[in-house]
Symmetry: C2
Subunit: 142 residues, 2 copies
């Protein structure tokens, strides 16, 4: 259990003390430094955080592949970190990045290429900014 | 297990099919519609998603309190949703909001009021945009 002194340290202190979840991860939001658009939401473990901070390039931890991963290592679509922020309880980071090419593995600039609206039959999606910048089949060959 | 047809449906389809984690939650990133700043990262369950979509006001699910929660119900610092997006694999949503007052329970406009930089002894934090807009002790009385 966290004591209130512990919570206060984490929220008001200047020590870097990421609060990892049970899988050893924090959430990372990457936004486009030029437009403010959210490009992607992913996860970082301790090593991904350290490598990102030291290199100025975004590293993540893939839950599906259970592996550390430098963004763009396969596609060339790297992210240069312009600014990095930690949230109040230190379980989420926000990076503002200069994105080379597309952030999304589907080929779109951002992973958030569908809008959610309230339709007659409930929530529905529609494409927004969904043009592909690359063909994923050509880049992620097996 | 997800089949590739299932993955394709979720990524390229227009059906709203949130992919909840083991706790029944998706991640939600709220950004300031005016500035593009990330205000907070939180979670939504099925009911929070539905209420947000139907009402146009942000609802979340608090993991620490295990309760549905309308943003601002205690503080008055509500979020009006201007735009809502779903990400490629439908496990994260992005809302652009008009934030009344401050998003962070510590009284700051954004939860991301500390920058992370690479210091001599490793990562360190520094306050950025950390002025309080309200006194949390005065608002969140026990």
């Amino acid at each position: 259990m966290s004591t209130s002194a512990d919570i206060n340290d984490r929220e008001e202190g200047l020590a870097f003390r990421p609060k990892f979840d049970a899988s050893g991860l924090v959430t990372c939001v990457a936004t486009d430094a030029a437009t403010g658009d959210v490009l992607m939401v992913a996860h970082m473990n301790d090593e991904a955080l350290r490598k990102t901070i030291e290199s100025g390039e975004a590293w993540y931890f893939s839950r599906s592949r259970n592996a550390l991963w430098r963004k763009g290592e396969t596609s060339g679509h790297t992210q240069r970190v312009v600014d990095m922020r930690m949230d109040c309880d230190q379980d989420a980071v926000w990076i503002r990045v200069e994105q080379t090419g597309a952030a999304c593995h589907t080929g779109r600039r951002s992973c958030f290429y569908r809008a959610v609206t309230n339709g007659e039959g409930g929530a529905q999606l529609s494409f927004v900014d969904a043009d592909r910048m690359f063909d994923p089949a050509a880049i992620y060959r097996k």
